[in-house]
């Protein structure tokens, strides 16, 4: 399937899911209001956000899988190439301890050299960068789903906790600076005495 058609299929299912989620939400909002109360009502109202995140996450998952496949392809290709080199350099099966030791040394040296070359290459670095980026995007969708659920339960979400951390960091910094200033002032006083 071409990337373009993959996108179209994802768009189609996205539209389909959102249409039904919206419609069911509209159709059931009045009976729901009667039956569901408190935080859980909030949660059902947020179901659309979760659906959106799941659909967007699925699209990212396809890209993640492409990078993951490429990652394993690079490893397998390098493995095959290294094994060919080993077979060429040491074609006989070792049958005494010295030969076995020499064979192992050749095997490890060739594999380490080839894999180091791979890990050092631009193609590996770029694909690894994409793989991590897609993994992070998937994590972000998961975080967003969790945020919706936490908000529904009246608990602080990641953004709110991050704001608290930032504020604490700023306060700690200010206190540390004040302590340093106070210490310097006391040192001057002691010197004068």
């Amino acid at each position: 399937m071409k990337p373009e058609s993959t996108k179209n299929v994802a768009e189609y299912y996205r539209h389909l899911s959102l249409f039904w989620t919206d419609l069911i939400h509209l159709m059931s909002s009045k009976p729901q209001a009667l039956t569901s109360i408190g935080p859980m009502r909030n949660f059902t109202e947020n179901a659309k956000k979760i659906t959106t995140e799941l659909i967007d996450g699925s699209a990212v998952l396809i890209e993640f899988n492409n990078s993951l496949t490429e990652y394993y392809r690079q490893l397998i290709d390098t493995w095959n190439e290294s094994q060919k080199k080993v077979n060429f350099k040491a074609p006989k099966i070792p049958n005494d301890p010295e030969q076995y030791e020499a064979y192992k040394r050749v095997w490890i040296d060739i594999f380490d050299n080839d894999f180091t070359e791979l890990f050092d290459s631009k193609k590996f670095g770029e694909n690894y960068g994409k793989l991590v980026a897609k993994e992070l995007e998937l994590t972000k969708h998961w975080n967003n789903i969790m945020n919706v659920m936490l908000q529904s339960a009246n608990l602080p979400n990641k953004q709110e906790i991050d704001d608290v951390y930032r504020e604490l960091h700023s306060l700690r910094k200010r206190i540390s600076k004040l302590e340093s200033k106070l210490r310097a002032k006391n040192t001057v006083k002691d010197d004068v005495k």
Partner: protein, 354 residues
């Protein structure tokens, strides 16, 4: 039969011996949890947030006038500098009469995700230096930085040269673009903004992945074969387990620090170009005018010599020494070579400069 494969009975005997060693290993070897790293006695003399300053108990009657503060790296833990009584960097310094302090950066948690270079260098490190100055009644200290700690010590020496009498840089990360290690290739391609925004602190698992691609077959297979083959050699096994325990324990890196680290050092390479800013202050390596002793290992596959050596050529110091040793990143600080050659040379230099 012509297709019959003849196998030397010695191979069978070796395989049987190897299986026996694997089976008996649990009876012969202490588990990593039971091993205590860092045996040289010390007092914790200063604490701030999760950072601790340790002061090692002297081992000589007379000590050098200028105390030495070691800024350990932000990856793994300080124990490697005191990994074994016979290979302890710290103990050797103490035996040479050096008054040793070491900074343990602690284990950052989510609450520390906004800590950055400014907090580490102008905050924690500066506060430790000021504390030692007061305690030892000196105007300046000797400062040693190892690995990423070398980078922080270099930035500190540039921003606070009035506090540093001597600067010792051991495998410091300085010129990110010249670093030829596989780790630098990975971090150059990472979207670090996205990483920090979504994950927060750099998780240890990411570091373990980076370690796993460093000579994966030598380190991932051959090392363990050697371990089981030598299971009856107590010294070998003891050293092996200590290093393994140290390797498998790295703390998270605060998100903001990680972001600046990757961007400013590896991706934009600002430090060596004298374009880096920390806490709004311009970092110029030319400000480092105190005596400098740089230690580099030719076999370093974590911080390549090409990445460390530019420090020697970029500082403003007139009194500077560059030492290149035939060892690796860990071998430089915890090996028989470090005990017999690297440390005696450093201690001699410190004696002259203290």
């Amino acid at each position: 039969m012509s297709s019959e494969i003849k196998i030397d009975p010695k191979i069978i005997a070796e395989m049987l011996k190897f299986s026996k060693n694997v089976t008996e290993a649990p009876q012969l070897v202490t588990s990593p949890d039971e091993i205590k790293l860092g045996t040289t006695p010390f007092d914790v003399v200063y604490e701030e947030d999760k950072v601790r300053l340790m002061h090692y108990k002297p081992m000589t009657d007379k000590q050098l006038h200028t105390p030495l503060i070691i800024a350990y790296a932000i990856i793994n833990r300080y124990h490697i500098l005191d990994i074994h009584p016979k290979k302890s960097w710290v103990k050797n310094l103490l035996e040479h009469g050096v008054d040793v302090y070491m900074i343990d950066w602690g284990t950052p948690s989510s609450i520390d995700k906004y800590l950055d270079f400014d907090d580490y260098v102008n905050g924690y490190l500066d506060n430790c230096v000021e504390f030692v100055k007061r305690e030892s009644n000196v105007d300046k200290v000797s400062l040693q930085g190892y690995c990423t700690g070398g980078t922080m010590a270099a930035i500190y020496s540039s921003l606070h040269p009035e506090n540093v009498k001597n600067f010792i840089a051991t495998a410091p990360v300085i010129d990110g673009w010249k670093d030829t290690t596989v780790v630098s290739n990975l971090v150059r391609h990472i979207d670090v903004d996205k990483f920090v925004e979504i994950v927060g602190n750099m998780p240890p698992e990411f570091m373990y992945y980076c370690f796993s691609i460093l000579k994966p077959f030598e380190q991932g297979i051959e090392k363990y074969i050697k371990f089981f083959k030598n299971i009856e050699d107590k010294n070998f096994v003891d050293n092996f387990m200590r290093i393994e325990k140290w390797l498998s324990d790295t703390p998270p890196i605060p998100g903001e620090l990680f972001r600046q680290w990757i961007k400013d050092i590896y991706q934009d390479n600002l430090l060596i170009q004298n374009k880096m800013y920390v806490g709004g202050k311009h970092v110029s390596l030319e400000n480092i005018k105190m005596p400098l002793f740089t230690q580099v290992a030719v076999g370093d596959h974590l911080v390549s010599p090409e990445c460390s050596m530019p420090l020697h050529y970029s500082v403003g110091s007139e009194d500077k020494t560059l030492k290149v040793y035939p060892t690796g990143h860990v071998g430089m600080i915890a090996s028989s070579l470090s005990q017999k050659k690297i440390l005696p040379e450093l201690c001699q230099w410190l004696k002259v400069h203290s």
